[in-house]
Every structure is written in structure tokens, then in C-alpha cells.
Amino acid sequence: MGVHRMLRSILTDAQFWIPLAVLAIGIALLIVVNQV
């Protein structure tokens, strides 16, 4: 599988976006607890 096709398969995989969204929440939380 070529790199381009591989990347397209990953980016169009709905399962990929769930951990990414959770990661964004985690980083936001880290900023909050560090400031308090």
C-alpha cells in the first residue's frame, strides 16, 4: 500500500478521529489544571 493511499485510509477512518478528539480534551484539561 502506497503512502498516499495509506494516509487516505487513515484519515477517512472514522475510528481515527475519536482518539484525536479525546486528545484535544485532554490537552485543554491539562492547561486548566496547570493554571489553577
Binding site: I10, Q15, F16, I18, L23, L30
Partner: protein
């Protein structure tokens, strides 16, 4: 019969993971000695990095790992993402421990089993087609875990110095649970795609180390400040590296549990680390002394409720219908990423298709091992006793018990799967 022996193997790996993940949290107590949470996390992850390179290289050899990674290159992206999730969650746990204590924070972030269970069911067909008895065990266990978490959260608000810091601690611990529960999506995806857990963790560790280093640089006052703190923390570095190394052993067992019994069962089992964490916190560090009897009772009751829930979940062995659902999830990966379905099936049954490819340990593998040992030795020479009171007798007992799980789990894995 085959699936039953794999179920037992997965259960053994989950329990061994609990022991080692619990032991790994003990060095985090050094937060009390005044180091920043980011530095503690960085020190621990440095130990993790050493372990995650050394153990796979020693068990299988780097040539084997490279061949395995080349078969499923797309999983490298997933492994790095999982590493980033782990690192952010790990840093959150340091804030949690600082604000509410290890024995309270531990069970709270262990709600990751509920999150993992949800993802396992939703994305990978876990528990699909399972009978009423299995569902009762799993749902009953899930409710028990949640109830235990609520009791412990209540206990923490009555015992902590201020409700504000307790709130921050609880938020950080629950956030870590969310991230760690979601981190199992890449884990399960990798094992449904036939990857060896040893290859997965080797890539995973890049995302992990890069993130922790970035967090330390961003939040801890930049490069100069981190370097100065590292110099100051040198006498404690050995303990942090050791904590990270223990974590690697726990995580490896956890990876094998996720592979052989799935995430909805594997996570609750490895979450028995909560019990080990409680033992380290209370017996070695004397955390429970000085709190009221009622608060102590709530802490123990809440923890036991969570463990009972986790046990109920883990005794639910997957029936045939559920295995068929797992196969459908595997077919999805096979179609999307062009993988050979027969190889994926063989891999999840514990067979190692690269076993006869003639991969041997190279000079590079031995160099990696020697370098890691030298770093540990260097940190060990610099190590000084930390200003934290500990009970040596309990340390001996807990170390012995933890080593027992390593010997047992390692032997079973080698005999059944040759670490595949």
C-alpha cells in the same frame, strides 16, 4: 478449548499488568519532595523509553520488530497517537496525586475501564451477540466500578485540604481515565490487524517521549528551566527511571491482555493495579494514617466495590457469537488496509507467522541493552534516599509478590505464544 486457554492467558496477563502498573506509581510519591509534575513525568517516561526499547529487542530482536512493523505500516500512526494519549494522561495523574493522593486518584482514573468497554463494544464488536449472563456480568461490573468511583470521590472531598484542590485532583484523574480508556482504540486495532504487541510499544514510545518532553518544555518554563530542574532532580532520577521500567512491564502485559481477551475484559483486569496502588500507598508510604476512620472505610469500601466489578466483567468469557462479531471487525481492518485475513486470524490465536523467518538478535540489540543498563547504573550511583518515609518490610513483601507475577505471566506467554 483453544479459545479457553487464550482466555486464561489473557486473564493472567491482565493480573500481572495490575501488579506492575501499581508498583510503577510508587515513585510518583516523590511529588511530595517538591519536583514539578512535568519533571516527574519526564523522568518516568525516560525510564519507559529505555524499557520499551530494551525489552522488545531482547525478547524478539530488532530485525523481527522491523519486519513486523513493515507488514502494517499504517499502525505506526496509531501507535504514536496512543503514545501521545498516554503521555498527556500520565501528566494529568501527577496533578491528581498531588491534589487528592494516590489512594484516591488511582480508582478514579481507573474508570478508563468503562470508557474502554464502550469503545470495545461500539467499534470492535466486543460483547455483540453475548448472552444475558455475560451482559449481566459486564454491566453489573461496570455499575459497581462507577459506584466505587463516586464513593471515593466523596471520600476525597471530606479528607482533602480544600474542596478546590480536591476538585482539580478529581477532574485531572477522571480526564486521565478518559484518555487512557480511549488509548485502547489503537491497541485493539493493532492486534486485530495482526501486529505483535512488542512492535506496537516500540513505536508507541516515540509519541510518548516526544509529548512528555514537549509538555515539560512548554509548561515548565522552557529548556533552561527543565535542565536546571533535571540537575536538581538527579538524586531522584533513578527512582523515576525504575518507576518507568516497572510501568513498561505492566503495560506489556496489558497489551497482551488487550490482544487475547479484548479491551472490555483486559482493562478491568489490569485495573487491579488500583489494589496494588492502594497497598503501596497505605502500607509503604503510610498514606491512610491520620485520616478519619469513616474516610478510610469509604476508601477501602469504594476500592473493593471497584475490584468486585472488575472481576465480574473479566469472568465473562466471549461466546461464539461474540467471536463472530470480532471477526467482522477484523474483516473491516483487512478490507480498509489491505491485510491478509488468514494471517490476522492466526495472530489473534497466538500464532507467530514470523517465528520461522530466522530473525536473530543482532549486535545492535545487545548494544541497546548495555546502554540501557549503563544509564540505570549511572542513575543508581547518583541516587540518594528521598525525604519520604517508607516501610522497608512492606517494600520487600510487595516486591516479592510483584516479581512472582512477572515469572508466572512471562512463562505462560512464552509457552503459549512465544511472546507474539
Amino acid at each position: 478449548m483453544k479459545s479457553r486457554s487464550l482466555h486464561r492467558l489473557g486473564v493472567a496477563c491482565g493480573l500481572a499488568a495490575g501488579a506492575w502498573l501499581g508498583a510503577a506509581e510508587a515513585p510518583n510519591k516523590l511529588v511530595a519532595a517538591g519536583f514539578s509534575p512535568f519533571l516527574i513525568s519526564l523522568g518516568m517516561v525516560a525510564g519507559v523509553f529505555l524499557g520499551r526499547w530494551t525489552l522488545p529487542a531482547m525478547l524478539k530482536g530488532s530485525a523481527y520488530l522491523i519486519s513486523d512493523i513493515r507488514r502494517t505500516p499504517h499502525l505506526s500512526v496509531w501507535a504514536i497517537l496512543a503514545g501521545v494519549l498516554w503521555a498527556v494522561a500520565n501528566t494529568l495523574t501527577v496533578f491528581a496525586i498531588k491534589n487528592v493522593g494516590l489512594s484516591i486518584a488511582f480508582p478514579l482514573w481507573n474508570t478508563n475501564s468503562i470508557i474502554g468497554l464502550l469503545w470495545g463494544w461500539l467499534l470492535f464488536g466486543e460483547l455483540r451477540g453475548a448472552g444475558r449472563a455475560q451482559w449481566t456480568k459486564v454491566l453489573g461490573g461496570a455499575v459497581a466500578i462507577m459506584s466505587g468511583a463516586v464513593i471515593l470521590a466523596y471520600a476525597s472531598t471530606t479528607s482533602a485540604a480544600s474542596s478546590r484542590s480536591a476538585g482539580i485532583g478529581i477532574l485531572a484523574a477522571l480526564g486521565a481515565g478518559l484518555l487512557w480508556g480511549t488509548m485502547y482504540i489503537p491497541y485493539r486495532k493493532a492486534y486485530l490487524s495482526g501486529m505483535n504487541p512488542l512492535s506496537f510499544v516500540t513505536i508507541f514510545t516515540f509519541g510518548e517521549l516526544a509529548t512528555v518532553l514537549s509538555l515539560a518544555l512548554i509548561f515548565d518554563g522552557g529548556y533552561q528551566s527543565v535542565l536546571a530542574e533535571l540537575r536538581q532532580a538527579r538524586p531522584a532520577l533513578f527512582w523515576l527511571l525504575l518507576g518507568g521500567f516497572c510501568w513498561v512491564l505492566g503495560d506489556l502485559f496489558q497489551q497482551y491482555a488487550a490482544k487475547y481477551i479484548g479491551i472490555s475484559r483486559g482493562i478491568p483486569l489490569s485495573n487491579t493495579n488500583q489494589l496494588w496502588g492502594l497497598a503501596w500507598g497505605a502500607l509503604v508510604f503510610g498514606e491512610s494514617s491520620g485520616t478519619g476512620a469513616f474516610v478510610r472505610l469509604m476508601t477501602i469500601g469504594g476500592s473493593l466495590l471497584m475490584v468486585a466489578g472488575a472481576a465480574a466483567v473479566s469472568f465473562a468469557e466471549a461466546p461464539d457469537a461474540e467471536n463472530a462479531a470480532r471477526k467482522r471487525a477484523m474483516e473491516r481492518e483487512s478490507r480498509r488496509y489491505g491485510l491478509d485475513l488468514a494471517r490476522l486470524e492466526a495472530s489473534i490465536e497466538g500464532e507467530d507467522s514470523l517465528e520461522h523467518a530466522g530473525h536473530r538478535r543482532s549486535l545492535l540489540d545487545w548494544l541497546v541493552a548495555v546502554a540501557a543498563a549503563a544509564i540505570f547504573l549511572w542513575a543508581g550511583i547518583l541516587a540518594r534516599p528521598q525525604p519520604v518515609a517508607v516501610d522497608p518490610a512492606w517494600i520487600f513483601v510487595l516486591v516479592l509478590a510483584t516479581l512472582g507475577t512477572l515469572a508466572g505471566g512471562g512463562f505462560l506467554l512464552w509457552r503459549r505464544t512465544r511472546f507474539s
